[in-house]
């Protein structure tokens, strides 16, 4: 099917003839983003269906009543859109004030400080005080899961976690319970996360724009602005998910998915996201070991490698090269397997090299 293009006028009041080209079927938000026009959002996430919950992306459109949200409004040819009129900005500020009023948004006490979309929006809109008094009653944190901490008091009810669980990972462990100012994110029967059907994939943490969902293992290991992000490939199953290692002082503090990357398109599972810290186990082998009188003693590389080479040479000399065999690791990098088979073929003179390929 041929893509039909549409032309919009965005913020044309100030910039004459600012024609914006989009594709039929896109929303106003998508057209604007594709053309580099900024509209603030909170509940919107590019990987999930539009939601229209936070009302921050409201715009004014000629010949349309009120202020429709850009994220759920289909873009139509000839549309005249204004994204930052005085009244639109005033409503956005009020929305942000209401969000701040209803919750415990204290950045000093929050793990997402510096990595928080609410914090950024409040700064951007220069909110200086909150005019509203509410009857907000704090809820207890749910830290039943070894991986995920849920703090309802920092939640802005954007519903991203619910959609990530339902639409991306399709586990459906959480939903929005109750209505209006009583609404909160709940598991089925309002159990703790640990007692729910949650599989701890952490996709909800990945998409949470604020500090309502955080990683237990990352606590205290560093602030968002201190992290270096290193892209790598997951060490577990054969899907080969692409991930960011968030590294501080050479230590992985947490892992997130590379959005839009193949093959995982911004998703990870519980092992990939949370199964990294074996690297730092005190039980790691740190030096070569040689068996002596029934136990192992530490050895230098030269001693250990000399011994391995001498024993292999001796056995090959006595019994022929096919009396030695080796198994390579299907966990380790390609280059390691290449070297091992080369050692067996070119060094030892045998093809007795295998890996656990078929199991």
């Amino acid at each position: 099917m041929k893509e039909e293009t549409i032309t919009l006028t965005v913020n044309g009041r100030d910039v004459k003839d600012r024609k914006i080209v989009g594709k039929k079927g896109q929303t106003v938000l998508e057209v604007c983003r594709d053309n580099g026009i900024y509209i603030p959002t909170l509940c919107h996430h590019p990987q999930m269906p539009p939601y229209g919950g936070c009302r921050l992306c409201i715009v004014q459109i000629d010949n349309m009543r009120g202020m429709p949200p850009a994220c759920t409004t289909p873009a139509v040819d000839g549309m005249v859109v204004n994204t930052h009129t005085e009244s639109v900005v005033r409503v956005r500020k009020t929305v942000l004030e209401l969000l701040l009023a209803y919750g415990d948004h204290n950045c000093l006490l929050c793990d997402s400080n510096g990595d928080c979309e609410l914090q950024n929006l409040v700064y951007e809109h220069q909110i200086e005080h909150i005019r509203f008094k509410t009857d907000f009653v704090p809820k207890p944190k749910d830290d039943s899961s070894p991986m995920i901490v849920r703090d309802h008091n920092k939640c802005v009810l954007c519903g991203r976690c619910v959609r990530a669980c339902l639409n991306l990972q399709m586990n459906g462990a959480i939903d929005i319970a109750e209505r209006g100012s009583n609404a909160y994110i709940a598991t089925f029967n309002n159990t703790s996360l640990m007692d729910s059907v949650c599989v701890n994939c952490g996709q909800c943490v990945e998409v949470c724009p604020v500090g309502a969902l955080t990683e237990k293992k990352a606590k205290g290991l560093g602030r968002a602005w201190e992290m270096e992000k290193v892209r790598t490939t997951c060490p577990y199953c054969g899907v080969g998910c692409q991930m960011w290692l968030h590294v501080k002082d050479g230590r992985i503090t947490r892992i997130s998915a590379v959005e839009e990357a193949q093959p995982n398109e911004g998703r990870l599972c519980v092992k990939g996201r949370f199964g990294y810290d074996f690297i730092y186990s005190e039980e790691r082998l740190k030096t070569p070991l040689i068996r002596e009188n029934g136990s192992f003693r530490e050895a230098s590389w030269d001693e250990a490698l000399d011994l391995v080479a001498a024993r292999f040479k001796e056995i090959i000399a006595k019994h022929g090269p096919d009396s030695v065999a080796g198994v390579s690791s299907s966990r380790s990098i390609n280059e390691d397997s290449y070297q091992m088979q080369k050692l067996f073929r070119a060094g030892f003179g045998t093809n007795n090299i295998d890996n656990c390929a078929r199991t």
Partner: protein, 531 residues
């Protein structure tokens, strides 16, 4: 995989056979689930009602080890009801007459009896598959871990060729590889019969190419032996020295008692690993290696995508990258290997020697990597194999296969079938996941998963300790009564040393692939006196 993960969520029909994707490949499973939300049909063929079956339009609980009977039955219907893709078969495939003759021996009624399902279910599956084109087939170790594993795979390929689904987007035959780099280890020639890039060691031209590239003496022309034969060799004395790199054979191989006897028979055993394991206990020398995030390198995933792995920290103590260790041993065998980094190994050796990887260079791997074959540096990679039914080998070969029962079937003494696999929260023998904080809290011990019907018959309550026994060993584990497991079946994993399914599994192997029959052996279950 002939196809790519990106196609999963766009597929219109998926046949998932012998794959517990929601636990073993959760991210891939999420795309299959997305496909169903987009309106795709999903047929799950599995003795257990697996997590994926919850999303299926049809779950077909065939008996353990009856895959070929099932697939032959489906193909029987496709041919007798003239539902197969005649044009595709005539133009793209060879061997149809022989396949036809074979599957005609499997009318739905016969197959149904072997599989323990209704004959009409087989008809239904065939008709549904034929009604939607393309249909994608995905499988995992439920297909390969049988004494007829290779024939199971051939049978899957036969079905997809008969339906004209190979070489189409959202179609194909897609084995999900169990480990991060099992594809890569094979591509690199860590196999007894081929050099890197699947070039046969028996081919004199390949040998002379590698001999001159490696600047070594003549290379051995006789294919080597596979892992189970190596273990047997340790026992019968034909293998004296054994080098185990990053594998915990003492827990992963079937019949642990036997495997440990083999390992302890080694005259000289070298283990190269990142942790002490059950296997390193038998070593004479243990070499400490750099782990995942301490290496620069590449992994190759199930869809043949070569992707980068990057270093964030130094390995602990004086441990070293694996490639460095092999290089030092080679030097002691008089070989001076020049490559001194993973990147150099790839760019100046691997890509020069393996034609299917010729166009892959580290500088091209910065984004989403490349899917082989990548024959040249300007080639964009190959997300879809055998495009439009033009098979890399010429014509697609339809190869008739017969069903055989598992090597060990239930009897009076051992009345249950034991089938094994992986669980969500752990990976293999837990050398890694067992040391990642929190995962043991999510799953702390092994269980014997069994039907509540069998539980009731044996007087076993959920959570009670039971003894599971086979001809090779026994374990004591908690019973986990779940209606996801059909009566007559016990299901266990191999993550925990205590209660590891491999104390019980049967070291019977596919004669060609030497893959063990982890998916089927006979066991007895008894209730233990409760504490």
């Amino acid at each position: 995989m002939t196809n790519s993960f990106a196609e999963f969520s766009r597929a219109k029909m998926i046949l998932a056979i012998g794959t517990n994707m929601t636990e073993a490949h959760p991210v891939a499973a999420s795309f299959v689930k997305n496909a169903t939300a987009n309106g795709a049909q999903l047929i799950v063929v599995d003795p257990r009602r697996s997590g994926l079956a919850d999303f299926a339009t049809l779950h077909v609980p065939i008996r353990v080890g009856s895959d070929i009977a099932f697939l032959n039955g489906v193909m029987n219907v496709l041919i007798t009801e003239n539902l197969y893709d005649r044009e595709y078969v005539e133009t793209c495939c060879t061997g149809f007459e022989a396949l036809r003759a074979k599957v005609l021996e499997y009318p739905p009624e016969r197959s149904a009896e072997i599989c323990g399902i209704e004959a009409d279910t087989i008809r239904e599956v065939a008709r549904q598959l034929a009604a939607v084109k393309p249909a994608m087939l995905a499988y995992t170790l439920g297909i390969t871990e049988h004494i007829c594993g290779m024939n199971n795979v051939l049978s899957c390929a036969n079905l997809q060729m008969l339906l004209g689904n190979v070489g189409l987007e959202c179609g194909g035959v897609n084995p999900l590889r169990g480990q991060n780099n099992v594809q890569g280890a094979c591509d690199m020639g860590a196999l007894p019969n081929v050099f890197p890039g699947y070039q046969a060691v028996a081919d004199p031209k390949a040998r002379s190419k590698f001999q001159s590239a490696w600047n070594c003496g003549s290379l051995p022309d006789k294919p080597g032996i596979m892992m189970p034969q190596m273990l047997e060799g340790l026992l019968n004395g034909s293998i004296k020295a054994f080098y185990v790199f990053g594998e915990n054979l003492a827990n992963t191989e079937p019949d642990i008692h036997h495997v440990e006897k083999c390992l302890s028979s080694a005259e000289f055993l070298v283990c190269q690993d990142i942790f002490p394991t059950e296997t390193t206990r038998f070593a004479h020398v243990i070499l400490p290696a750099a782990a995942w995030s301490e290496n620069d390198g590449t992994f190759t995933n199930s869809e043949r995508r070569v992707n980068r792995v990057r270093t964030v920290s130094e390995p602990p103590g004086i441990s070293k990258p694996n490639w460095w260790i092999f290089k030092q041993i080679a030097a002691r065998f008089g070989q001076n290997w020049s490559s001194d980094s993973a990147r150099e190994l790839w760019d100046s050796e691997i890509s020069q020697l393996a034609p299917s990887l010729a166009g892959v260079r580290y500088e091209r791997l910065e984004g989403d990597g490349l899917q082989w074959p990548v024959p040249s540096e300007t080639h964009p990679g190959t997300p879809l194999m055998h495009k439009d039914g033009k098979f890399t080998c010429g014509l697609g070969q339809l190869i008739p296969v017969d069903w055989i029962p598992p090597a060990e079937v239930p009897d009076e003494e051992y009345p249950f079938v034991l089938s094994t696999g992986r669980r969500l929260f752990h990976y293999h023998t837990r050398t890694q996941t067992g040391r990642a904080l929190g995962l043991n809290e999510l799953l702390g011990e092994e269980t014997a998963d069994m039907s509540p019907i069998d539980g009731a018959a044996l007087g076993i309550q959920n959570g009670e300790m039971v003894r599971v026994k086979s001809r090779r060993g026994e374990v004591t584990v908690k019973a986990n009564l779940t209606d996801r497991v059909p009566p007559g079946l016990i299901w266990m994993a191999f993550h925990f040393r205590e209660g590891c399914a491999n104390w019980l599994t049967n070291p019977a192997f596919d004669p060609v692939t030497q893959t063990a029959e982890y998916k089927a052996c006979a066991v007895a279950v008894e209730k233990l006196p409760q504490a």
